[in-house]
Symmetry: C2
Subunit: 240 residues, 2 copies
DNA sequence: AAATGCGTTTGATATAGGTCAAAAACCATG
DNA sequence: CATGGTTTTTGACCTATATCAAACGCATTT
């Protein structure tokens, strides 16, 4: 954990960040952008397995992912855990903690990653000055709510194949938005983690991958996924 | 649908609302409260089955429930629907719509109900002036995110009995916070709706109620529920 | 190269909850 | 208070997914 203020090499401004279009500064004007730069100067790096925050920790900041991959999970008694999301560059995490001033889930790096820390009180102050930023912050929180509703739909009323198809299409779309291939990517998470997220056991996830492969929808080689028939995969989710 | 501005009998100010402690104005100072009063003057009443808003409708306002009961649901293709929540007095709904300027779910009255409309642009303007209100709005949105994570946990990793127990305890706690009995209440929603919310079929919900009754945990008579053994019900959720 | 260890795949079997169907209870209306 | 429609309960049976178990693949260490 380094102090970025003393380490100029880690200072990457929002204004020059290549995730600008996906992250907090979307749609901001020049003056707003400058002020936001001042706010997000602190960067931190994480290795696979490191915690960005833990359930119960005090709330100070939101975090924008610059590079890498995280998962968030809520813990129930006795090791039962539920993965609530997988986050990738340009996404903001930590909003769960605002309501009680403490984090209500864990955030764990799935690979070596880098984040920008956004002190929340300063973000609030800035968003009082700039209505555009304020609205954007509200949109980010609202988007999280909408995303969660989608997962409820998935968990509450889809079969295993539909869930996995929806999951893969969601990843595909997010990779695509970041300039990566929508059809070939590799998974950063284990079958176990996918299963937890989708409300399935890891064996079911593995079997469903195999089914998809048998039916020519995908090529899967452990963590490497190639979508062969996007349309048919889509028809699974909306479909029959 | 009446215009409240022309109907003084419907003008109930936040400052004199008995839900003050649960709703938007919690922790606000005198001046903030007055300004909020001016903003929430429009009331609307709904009958059982009426839509407060529909998926796709443009976003204008958040809604505070004054009396009654609502459900929210997201629609999937071909009639498949997922109930995402049941809302009671003092709760704020509509935040899903901020992200895309359009509602992403339906909100439907489960009984005759009354709401306060809170125009969102004016709420944002006011919260730029009053940091206390701003933080409170953020907390409300964050609370929704945390709530959704709890439901994901429930849908992703609990068995039918645990789900229903968690559901009843949640209702109990919310009735209790509103000054009603935590042990005896009646359900405003059908078995079907409970099932949709909990990711179960209505028959399973009905059977699980019967099991609980056989084991002396509850007395159920269709919509009337009496919790007989709160501790044992709790141990179901955290439990075994 | 062998050994160790984690994650994945696959198979055989079990079970929680789904499905289908019918009866019973409840509710609104004439 | 009879009627028709909806909701709920209960039963019998079925299936999707879980569980248990073994083998396999791949990466890392010795």
């Amino acid at each position: 954990m380094q102090n970025a203020i003393n380490n100029p090499s880690l200072r990457i401004a929002c204004s020059s960040c290549n995730l600008r279009e996906l992250c907090l500064p979307v749609d901001l004007g020049g003056q707003e952008m400058e002020r936001l730069d001042a706010l997000t100067s602190r960067k931190r790096t994480f290795q696979r397995g490191d915690y960005l925050y833990r359930c119960g920790e005090g709330f100070r900041a939101l975090y924008a992912i610059r590079t890498g991959f995280f998962k968030t999970q809520v813990l129930h008694e006795a090791g039962r855990e539920q993965v609530t999301g997988f986050q990738m560059p340009g996404e903001i995490i930590g909003m769960d903690a605002i309501s009680s001033d403490a984090h209500t889930c864990d955030a764990i790096a799935l690979e070596d990653s880098e984040i920008c820390e956004i002190p929340f009180d300063r973000l609030e102050a800035l968003s009082r000055e700039f209505p555009g930023l304020q609205r954007h912050l509200h949109k980010i929180m609202s988007r999280e709510i909408v995303r969660d509703h989608g997962i409820m739909m998935l968990l509450g009323s889809m079969r295993a194949e539909e869930r996995l198809a929806a999951f893969l299409l969601n990843l595909s779309q997010r990779f695509s938005a970041r300039g990566y291939s929508p059809t070939a990517f590799n998974l950063r998470m284990t079958r176990q983690e996918i299963g937890s997220y989708l409300g399935l056991k890891l064996e079911t996830v593995s079997r469903t991958f195999s089914h998809f492969q048998e039916h020519g929808l995908l090529n899967v080689k452990v963590r490497e996924v190639e979508i062969m028939d996007m349309l048919r995969l889509r028809s699974f989710v909306g479909g029959t």
